[in-house]
Symmetry: C2
Subunit: 204 residues, 2 copies
DNA sequence: GTCTATACACCGATAGAC
DNA sequence: GTCTATCGGTGTATAGAC
């Protein structure tokens, strides 16, 4: 008896096609906008017809859902990479966290729309796709706590502040830096408010 | 000779029907969501068929556009009414401005979506509908300047801060007050940052 | 002039042949 | 697993009834 094969070639192929579909979907979302994504368009871009997509995703929203999960997982990977490089100084640390989020959000409008706004009618992320988003928030909470930002209300204020700057930037000055320029000043405002010591000239 | 009639009854009737259409549209937007609005639905609610709407609006987006203009005009009326009641104290004045905006935004999710977010694909407000929005911002700028908040960057920071709190409230705690509770604290943070004197116990 | 009936192109989704 | 065919829905255009 040969037993079971060690690899499931069919599952691998299925997963590869799923990724191909998602890549095409991201391409269209970036090109034409997140809401302008259509199944026919996605399918044709990879040499398929629209109904074939239903062998890989149960609905159009399931595609959005997988994209949502991908985006937050990517961001989780990013902050994992950034974590060892975080400055020791609390104030610089908070600034680094804010900049990481801000830059990631501003770099891809469609992605930010999907991750942080409720712009697709009827789309609600599944628990599985939401998990990395929760993990990111948990991670951010820990980092902020390490830098002296503690308590739900302070974290809520921080997220609202950064989110507000991102949204203003995206909505009113897409591609510019009118609100991006205010980020450091905004963090200083926040840091002073919650009592994070100023960074001294030669580190803290 | 009788001359011209003093009233254009036909134009009045036309305008009345336009308002009736918009009222139905607001109703549906509040009930089912802004994006779920359909022409057939709007038309049936006032005893018409969908194509008849084209006698009053050139497209569905033209309806959204008129709603956009209505919402900002309403808000302009509101701040006109609020203006005489604004406190003298700079800090309380800024708080009043923030509360007025925050409460108006949170009171109607669909309206806030239309006014302040880019949630309808392809919808761009016309210059005529945008005019009251500009007027509101101009008015807010003058009020803030009167309370000592001057310069584009400070106003930008203020709008981003309040907008961020509104969006966080709507997105993560609709109907609750998790971020609404932070509003006063946020304004104090901002006021301290831009050097607005604290309100004393017995007025300023 | 107002409104309707009809039609068109497109959408997401489903059924069934191969 | 992928296709064609099709369904009910959408926004939109237009011809014509009244």
């Amino acid at each position: 008896m040969l037993g079971q094969p060690t690899r499931d070639r069919q599952a691998e192929r299925q997963e590869a096609t799923r990724l191909e579909i998602l890549a095409a979907a991201w391409e269209i979302a970036r090109d034409k906008g997140l809401a302008e994504l259509t199944l026919r368009d996605v399918a044709f871009r990879i040499g398929m017809r629209a109904p074939s997509l239903y062998s890989y995703f149960g609905s159009k929203n399931a595609i959005y859902d997988a994209m949502f999960g991908q985006a937050w997982t990517d961001y989780l990977t990013l902050i994992n990479a950034v974590e060892p490089t975080l400055p020791r100084s609390p104030r610089d640390g908070v600034k680094a966290i804010a900049h990481t989020f801000f830059d990631y959000a501003v770099a891809d409008h469609a992605r930010h729309q999907l991750m942080n706004q409720r712009t697709i009618p009827g789309f609600v992320p599944s628990p599985e796709s939401y998990a990395p988003a929760i993990e990111v928030l948990e991670r951010a909470r820990r980092h902020l706590a390490r830098f002296g930002v503690q308590g739900n209300e302070r974290v809520d204020l921080f997220t609202a502040l950064i989110g507000g700057l991102v949204d203003a930037q995206q909505a009113n000055d897409l591609g510019g830096d009118r609100w991006a320029r205010l980020l450091d000043d905004a963090i200083d405002m926040f840091a002073n408010h919650v009592g994070i010591p100023k960074t001294t000239g030669r580190g803290s």
